[in-house]
Subunit: 256 residues, 2 copies
DNA sequence: AGGCGCTTGTGAAGACGTGCACAAATCGCG
DNA sequence: CGCGATTTGTGCACGTCTTCACAAGCGCCT
């Protein structure tokens, strides 16, 4: 499969040519470390011990150190990690030294919110195109970008060097959109539609599904409720009522 | 090894008081199975083999069978799983037999999209309250619900039996909102703000962070690109990086 | 009834991820 | 200049998750 992807890619300088083979679990945590590090940098910290960074990122400090050790990062014993240096390291590993262009397909309810989100820009990405199939939406301007028709994708993909596609269409259209993205050389897709996408090998898909998150929470609610219910008498868990745990509620103000 | 629960009579009144202790990884996949099963039911399937359900859910069939075996589900050898029965089973385990009430806090850009999302209702939840701190937003009606002030949370939480809180405020306000939710007895939180929340034990928090997803994709893009590129190419890209990073001592970590 | 093909449920093995605990490295200070 | 306080990096043991492979169970067809 041809993946002619050659974004103005400046080859890395002679140093650090090969990317370490990071465990997937580590990769998933690096962005969290990065966010925490940016916070620390803004509050004037020049170095941070693993313990501090770990708690800012919500993980265990041993895990953090192991993660960082995987990317060959150098902390200083007795001191900690250099915040600015570590930011550079992680951004490099994550490939954020180039600002990747994102195409957002499906500018409906959710798409509008995403298009207006500044977290894209501030964290290494650039929304390069808004695309929709509905002629009524084409031409609308959002946040300085004009919505264009999905059929223009091939041209836009080349012009803008689209690296990542975001799908925010109804589930029924998602597979077709994915196919179109793949056809123009996109090898990374973030899918908000509640469906499984099938893509050729070499294409990465990540999925965000709000309802799944809620259902996982629901499971734990259910389990928590069934634990507080009478274990021996076999009271029906189906009728778990809010009053069940109401006794543990509290004062309205919490120490700020 | 034969400690199985009662064969699932459809009306599971009084039976099955205790929830099996499911592996977390399994719990995270059940919602996906459930969605696939609903699709199958709508297309007229009465039974489905593990292979079919697995591919509809995007997983390996052995994994699917093991997952289902954990919840004591009964398939029929030589046939497969009864779609309707399995839907009931999974919905029961996930605690979806009661429609949980969700409070959405922060009705801004993203909050509007969520409030208008029908995937809540169709998958077991009910948006019971929209809350915001901005007086200008209070009173606005979205999808039949009126935005109310966050200070009304304590009263509303009781009235509506809020089970789950969704935070869609700026990161800076998220911890405070979480505290308020916890104070009124909410023990499950879905957080869209890019920050770590600290909550008392017994409260579950799940986080959705769009930028993190993109950064993970970016990493894989980067890795894919570095594999196809020549390792020796010159050209400076590390413009913003301090010299110490690439040039000096990082070398030894390279596995040639 | 009996055999045959299909599919589930699961034991076992291996891959992967986590967390402890401690030696090695570094800094600041007397 | 050496010492103690501090913090990193990692070996190791343990737990969780995935995957393979196959016996056991089921229905259908002859
Ligand atoms: N709204 C939310 O908060 C939310 C939350 C989670 C998930 N989702 C999911 O995100 C997706 C979008 O949700 P929404 O509420 O924005 O829906 P929507 O109907 O408001 O918007 C969908 C948009 O996609 C466009 N579209 C349809 N087919 C297309 C195609 N082939 N090519 C390009 N564009 C096409 C439509 O014209 C429309 O503008 C859905 O799959 C939904 O389940 C939404
Ligand atoms: N917009 C997106 O697509 C998107 C995507 C991913 C993540 N996020 C995150 O979701 C959050 C919301 O994003 P947004 O774009 O909707 O921001 P927004 O500024 O448009 O909306 C935030 C809303 O929260 C309200 N708010 C502020 N403090 C509050 C408080 N203490 N109690 C109750 N309400 C309060 C504000 O009045 C406002 O209405 C942010 O943390 C953002 O980083 C947004």
């Amino acid at each position: 499969m041809s993946q002619h992807r050659h974004p103005g890619a400046p080859g890395r300088a002679g140093a650090v040519p090969a990317l370490p083979d990071l465990p997937e679990a580590t990769v998933a945590r690096l962005p969290e470390y990065l966010r925490a590090l940016h916070n620390l940098a803004e509050t004037g910290h020049e170095t941070v011990p693993s313990e501090g960074l770990a708690s800012a990122a919500g993980v265990n400090s041993a895990k953090l150190r192991k993660d960082l050790s995987h990317l060959g990062s150098y902390g200083t014993r007795g001191v900690g990690y250099d915040v600015a240096l570590l930011i550079d390291q992680i951004e490099y590993v994550l490939g954020l030294t180039q600002r990747r262009a994102v195409a957002l397909v499906g500018v409906g309810n959710l798409g509008h919110a995403l298009a207006g989100y500044d977290g894209f820009a501030s964290r290494g990405f650039r929304i390069a195109a808004l695309l929709d199939a509905d002629p009524a939406r084409v031409g609308e301007e959002i946040n300085g970008l004009v919505v264009r028709h999905i059929d223009e994708l091939p041209r836009i993909a080349v012009e803008e060097s689209i690296a990542i596609g975001v799908i925010a269409t109804p589930a029924q259209a998602a597979q077709r959109v994915a196919d179109q993205l793949v056809a123009v050389g996109v090898t990374s897709i973030l899918n908000f539609a509640p469906c499984v996408l099938s893509v050729p090998e070499g294409v990465d898909v990540r999925k965000v599904d709000l309802a799944i998150e809620l259902q996982i929470l629901s499971f734990h609610e259910h389990r928590k409720a069934s634990l507080t219910a009478l274990p021996a008498t076999g009271g029906s868990a189906l009728t778990a009522l809010p009053g069940g745990f109401g006794a543990t509620d509290t004062q309205e103000a919490i120490g700020t």
